[in-house]
Amino acid sequence: MIAIEHLVKYFNRRGVNEVIALSGIDLTIERGEFITVIGSNGAGKSTLLNCLAGTFRHDEGRIVINGKDISPWPEYRRARFIGRVFQNPLTGTCASLTIEQNMALAFRRGARRGLSFGVKAAYRREFMERLAMLGLGLEHRLKNAVGLLSGGQRQALTMLMASLVQPELLLLDEHTAALDPKTARKILDLTRCIVSEEHLTTLMVTHNMKQALAFGSRLLMLHNGRVILDVKEDEKRSLTKDDLLSRFYDMQGEEVESDRMLLT
């Protein structure tokens, strides 16, 4: 179980350009939940993911995974619990290393790295089986540099690498946004397949309302650094795009109201 308690994050704190990106997020994530996160630009979706991964340090609140408060942990230490796929398909893999070298690096996520060979012969079989799952023919290209692959292929590989060592939490930050529609669909299918097969606890940020509705067991809508909608299971299944839109416009309306109040 993952508990996020009153998470607050400022940018440029105490500066002229101070921005509050997360203004007190409270969230309890049960094991095996697949949560989709939507919200407009600047709502705090990516900031939330980055705070969980430790890329940014949050300013207030706690993040508790399996009873351990990991708030003071640096990013590399949290990686033991967290698998990540980034929006940029080039971020998740090393271009100059081969497919098997990349996978071997991911295979040791969170473990000590010593002076034994990075790519062990015993790994190759498993790597090939996993790669075959993608249906991209990558299982025959173990010794190709990853830089030779397309963005979609690299994102598929990143997806695979993130789940090679089972993470307590899988973070997907708009991981299909930079791909063409056909490739995006493939990566989404792969996501659904890996998440359900491994029962991964997942947080998937998306810009696409249809995706947010079609995927996962729970939906969060963020606005101005707050959770404004949190629906699960049956309630989520009955939710429509129009519901989301009207909810979204309600919030914007409220904003106008409060601005008006400020001005008068």
């Binding site: 990013e75 990686a79 998740g92 893999t93 090393c94 991911a106 790295r113 060979f117």
Partner: protein, 295 residues
Amino acid sequence: MTWFSFLGALEQGFVYGIMALGVYLTFRVLDFPDLTVDGSLPLGASVSAVAITAGIDPFVSLLMAAGAGFMAGAVTAVLNTKLKILHLLASILTMIALYSINIRIMDGPNVSLLGKATVLDPLLGLGMSGYVAAPLAFAGVAVTVTGLLIWFLHTELGQALLATGDNPQMIVSQGVNTHNLIIFGVGLSNAMVAFSGALIAQNQGAADANMGVGTIIAGLASVIVGETVLGTKGIFRACFAAIIGSVIYRLAIAMALSMKWGAFSFTPSDLNLITALLVVLALTAPKLKERFGLG
């Protein structure tokens, strides 16, 4: 070029090749332009020279030199990672500080090793003359060090080091503390450079506070020349490219020095200019080729 200057160039090529390998490790693998080497080469030389004059075995003095070099590199990397000083500036700071430290270590600007024991003694004891023994011994050492580096870069730790230079965000999210790896990598690089400096001092019979001037440029030139000749495909090739590049570079210099046009000939003091031009040319050649559609 005479036979002697050819052997001399080979000898220098191999012994400076170990330094070039260190430069390859920071410049290419870690993407960390490290000017510490201008200070860590004489650091290795002075540590080894002082140790030998104090009666320590010359082989042991090599390890001491490497250890000192590792520390120098680690200081640069700590300045960069922990104190957030730009890598180039951090390395210049260490380099400048090392100038004073080297003079302190030697208690003066230089130490002579004439008549002292060196690592070449066992070969000379076999009746081999110095100008044959040195290139042979240094070739052996250079190939051994290259082999060790190639092995290391294939280990779990070495692979993480490669990834740190290639894509820090990726390797952090695989659970690697990149700061520690950068400190280790820059340390290792400077250990190799200091090791090379110690061998140079033992071979030329003296350590000098100013012997490091231009080390980084010679190292870069070697790496780039090697890459041009051997290519960069694979770790094996890239590592040997540094050594081969260093040998070619020293041969080219020996050749330039032996040329004469009427009353004009190059002097050793022209080498820095020639090397700088060579590096500029090698760095811009790919772009120029692209621009003008050649090759």
